[in-house]
């Protein structure tokens, strides 16, 4: 009671009420009933009569069959099920189970077409009852398989039933991903502390939720897989089998499989039924079943333990009061809160779960907000800031020399700045989740390669832009893989070099200046600069007479083409596909570099902007137009010196910048701006770098540095080459943000086309 557990009679009354409201086709109602039945079962021995428990179990499987469509959901059947509830209510009230009760119950329930296994409900000797218990179990297990078989035959139609309630399904998908993530994190934690009951419960709970919700959404296969795994975990929870590496592996694999299936459901939801894929979960279920039968003797014993209550005579068959101190404290039944969650999501339930409050005290209250609404807010705030600046710059207001006005203005701008910061912060999420996924990766990789690797994480609470989370995942995986595969040596080799046999990969994140810095550091062999240098010479990326520092040479691994030709693995063991990493990071307007010490290890440093919504840029003028160049890409800007200017065929222009011949892009030409300065000597060139390519952009004037909010030009003007988006400048006009990769591509093509047309 104290923990929000409801008394048996209360639950039964609730069920009686609910079944009155259930109508054919109302699966949600059935789901609620199912949740109640599970709540009853979760109360544990001593609270519910063992015999009653069995009735509930049978009732529950009947409900499950209704949900799975193998029992027709007609009004008559619901009437029969209602009678079952009445029967259970009577039993619970009297506290004694008689033979007649069972007879009546089985009569009513078979009326629905439910096949009752023999002697399920017969109370006789101990042995028979064990049989009974087992039949209930097998009944439950089997009840799913024939149904799913039946469904396989009539496949797409039945299988896509779940599309009926898209909103619910959408919610389920989102929740399922969260759950799967928490499962993974907890499993990995469990590996460190295998005996922690709380963690086992934390794994059990999400499986249970997925099972429950997928059940009444008619996602049969997901439901079945989750159910089977839950059974396995239940054994672990009850101490029947230990949480060993086999179980952990299975749980992790099942988690992956479930994620794949949920992703498929998501694809179906988004792109229509054509996306639907059949998944074969038999390997999993068979493995789990095999595992369970191996350690299965235990569960038989357990069944016997629970029996005496039923069989040892009528006096024992009495109800133990719900709040009786005699009621043995069982392992915290996680079933109940989960069941409640399901219900509350369906219906505004007054009995708001106590559990939610408990959780929130730990994690802080949060709400889910539509990203569009958030963007709207950010937009409005951005506009407010600009408007405020415009009012302030109004010449009439400038003339007023009132100290109060000045003070008020500064107060106002403080508030708007604060508001802007808050609005931006709302888009930020801790990087923790992304980091935690790496734990799994390192575990798998090290196991595969026979290395011992510790992953140390620092600064998981550092916040990054929500939109960046997905994009940063791939490069991180790539670099972690590199560090484990190629950086950290095998244990023997490490010992030879006087290092501890377990290698360490350190993943850290912190905020520095206006950037988020993510570092991946390993204590492996480091980069072999000499070999990279040799390779670079071969590829003519550098010249032998050039005096290039090792640190600069190391960064050559990020050059595209450096690693594609042949495996770098035999050179240094590092740098495979690093250009991919660099590209991904640059897309986020970030930078990546490597610092390495031969024999000591290497460190990759990724610098990312705090948010994707704001860009730090230099505003330049070309004729009447203003453009924003992302600061991160700018190498330098200068007034060109005519002695460094060269042309090829009189058209292809280059400028010598620090010993590099840099092609010149005349922006006014490329963008067709008429009233611009056409003489290179009177203009300013901005040297930019993108994916290793240098270009000199010719502009009229540098107007200043500014942080601007990126806005899309809308669907109508998307994919304009050379333009990444727009922003609203201080005077309220729109300025275009340059997309350098596109710009370079256009200018390369532009020149060719230009020559041809001439």
């Amino acid at each position: 009671m104290a923990e929000g557990k409801r008394a048996v009679s209360v639950i039964l009354d609730d069920m009686a009420l609910k079944i009155m409201l259930v109508e054919p086709g109302n699966l949600i109602g059935v789901g609620e009933l199912l949740a109640c039945a599970e709540e009853l079962l979760s109360l544990g021995e001593g609270r519910v009569l063992a015999a009653l428990e069995k009735m509930v179990e049978v009732f529950k499987s009947a409900l499950e069959q209704v949900i799975m469509n193998s029992l027709p959901d007609t009004a008559e059947n619901f009437d029969a099920l209602a009678q079952c509830i009445v029967c259970m209510q009577e039993v619970s009230r009297r506290g004694v189970v008689t033979e007649q009760d069972f007879d009546r119950f089985s009569q009513v329930i078979t009326a629905t077409g439910f096949v009752l296994a023999d002697n399920t409900l017969i109370i006789q000797g101990q042995s028979n009852s064990i049989g009974g218990e087992q039949t209930v179990n097998t009944e439950e297990g089997n009840s799913t398989s024939p149904t799913s078989k039946a469904e396989d035959k009539s496949s797409p139609v039945v299988n896509l039933d779940f599309l009926q309630d898209k909103e619910l399904l959408g919610g389920f998908i989102e929740e399922a991903f969260d759950h799967l993530e928490s499962i993974e994190v907890n499993v990995l934690e469990l590996e460190q502390r295998p005996d922690d009951q709380e963690i086992i419960n934390n794994i059990f709970r999400p499986f249970h939720t997925i099972k429950g919700v997928s059940g009444f959404l008619n996602l049969t296969i997901i439901n079945k897989l989750a159910h089977t795994t839950e059974n396995l975990l239940d054994d672990v929870r009850n101490g029947v089998r230990p949480m060993d590496s086999t179980v952990i592996d299975i749980v992790l694999n099942v988690g992956d499989q479930l994620r794949e299936m949920v992703e498929n459901v998501k694809a179906v939801l988004e792109n229509g039924p054509g996306e639907y894929k059949e998944f074969d979960i038999n390997p999993f279920t068979q493995r789990i079943d095999a595992l369970r039968t191996l350690g299965g003797e235990g569960s038989g014993e357990q069944g016997a333990e629970s029996l005496p209550a039923t069989s040892s005579g009528s006096d024992a068959v009495s109800i133990v009061p719900d709040d009786s101190p005699l009621a043995p404290e069982r392992v915290d039944p996680p079933v109940q809160p989960v069941a409640k969650e399901i219900r509350t999501s369906q219906q505004k339930d007054e009995n708001t779960p106590v559990e939610t409050e408990k959780k929130s005290s730990k994690m802080g209250v949060s709400i889910k907000v539509d990203v569009e609404k958030l963007d709207g807010l950010v937009n409005a705030v951005g506009e407010l800031v600009i408007m405020q600046a415009m009012v302030r710059q109004n010449p009439l207001i400038g003339k007023i020399s009132d100290p109060k006005l000045t003070k008020d203005f500064s107060q106002l701008s403080r508030i708007t700045t604060e508001l802007q910061k808050t609005a931006m912060a709302m888009r930020m999420v801790p990087i923790r989740q992304t980091f935690q996924k790496m734990t799994r990766l390192v575990r798998d990789l090290s196991r595969k390669s026979g290395k011992m690797v510790d992953l140390v994480m620092v600064g998981e609470d550092t916040e990054i832009d929500r939109n960046m989370v997905d994009s940063i995942y791939d490069p991180l995986v790539h670099m972690i893989r590199n560090s484990v595969d190629h950086g950290v040596q095998l244990p023997d080799e490490r010992k030879k070099n006087g290092k501890p046999s377990t290698g360490t990969v350190k993943l850290s994140a912190y905020q520095k200046g206006g950037n988020i810095v993510i570092e991946i550091e390993d204590d492996g062999s480091g980069l072999n600069s000499d070999k990279i240098r040799k390779k670079a010479l071969e590829r003519r990326l550098i010249r032998s007479e050039e005096n290039i520092l090792d640190s600069e040479v190391n960064n050559l691994i990020f050059l595209p083409g450096f690693s594609t030709a042949d495996k770098i693995t035999d050179v240094s063991g590092r740098g495979v596909g690093m250009d991919v990493v660099k590209k991904a990071v640059e897309k986020l307007r970030g930078k990546v570099e490597v610092i390495s010490q031969p024999g000591q290890g290497s460190q990759f440093v990724i610098r990312l902007p705090l948010t994707l919504a704001i860009i730090d840029g230099i505003v330049v003028r070309v004729g009447t137009e203003r453009y924003i160049i992302p600061t991160i890409a700018i190498q330098e800007s200068m007034r060109p010196d005519s002695s460094k200017y060269n042309t090829v065929h009189g058209r292809g222009e280059t400028l010598k910048v620090r010993d590099h011949l840099v092609p010149v892009i005349r922006l006014f030409e490329l963008f067709g701006i008429k009233e611009a300065n056409k003489d290179l000597n009177d203009s300013i060139v901005v040297v930019i770098e993108n994916e290793g390519r240098l270009r000199a952009l010719m502009v009229d004037e540098l107007l200043g540095k500014q942080e601007v909010v990126i806005k899309s030009l809308g669907g109508y003007l998307k994919d304009i080459p050379g333009v990444a988006g727009g922003t609203i400048l201080g005077d309220g006009r729109v300025g275009l943000i340059l997309d350098l990769a596109g710009l370079i591509a256009v200018s390369d093509g532009f020149k060719v086309r230009d020559v041809e047309s001439e």
Binding site: N379, E625, S712, G714, Y716, I720, V734
Partner: protein, 168 residues
């Protein structure tokens, strides 16, 4: 191909009644009407930031209360002669694809809102090759004040510019 493309939407459209309220505006000597429900607002001409690599009728983008929206010049879109903007020139901001897209259309002057009934509407006449793309014309409304050409906003700005531009 163009003819077929124009045919299909016309066939579909005849099913729905075209009667309703239209905002009328003028381009040169012609009067046009667009469905009032598609009109978000009417603003005066402001400074437009031009966007490179776009067709000539795309004048650029403006800041509409924090939102960047594209502006197209309807005269240029219909391949009519261009004209200097004056103080009668307006930008009609229309709502396309159920509000997911706002686009401003530059017109010579906005006139009034008229109610058109079914019997006043005639299907668009065929002009053959003289008028390349008449697919955006819903019908002609014969009003006392003259003939109004009812045009479909979705067709005019429905296709992204990038796509159109590739054909040029």
């Amino acid at each position: 191909m163009g003819a077929i493309r124009a045919e299909i939407p016309n066939l579909v459209r005849t099913v729905h009644s075209l009667a309703g309220k239209y905002l009328t505006f003028s381009l040169a000597d012609e009067d046009y009407g667009i469905e009032i429900l598609k009109v978000r607002e009417i603003i005066g001409v402001m400074e437009i930031t031009s966007v490179p690599h776009t067709p000539i009728f795309v004048k650029g983008v403006i800041n509409l209360r924090g939102r960047v929206i594209p502006i197209i010049d309807l005269r240029l879109k219909f391949e009519m002669e261009s004209r200097e903007y004056d103080d009668r020139t307006c930008i009609v901001v229309v709502d396309v694809h159920n509000g997911s897209l706002l686009v401003g259309m530059v017109v010579d002057a906005v006139s009034e809102v008229i109610a058109v009934v079914d019997k006043e509407i005639e299907p668009p006449p065929t002009f053959g090759v003289r008028l390349g793309d008449a697919g955006s014309i819903l019908g002609m409304a014969k009003m006392a004040s003259g003939v109004k050409i009812l045009i479909d906003v979705d067709t005019i700005v429905g296709v992204g510019v990038a796509l159109e531009f590739q054909d040029i």
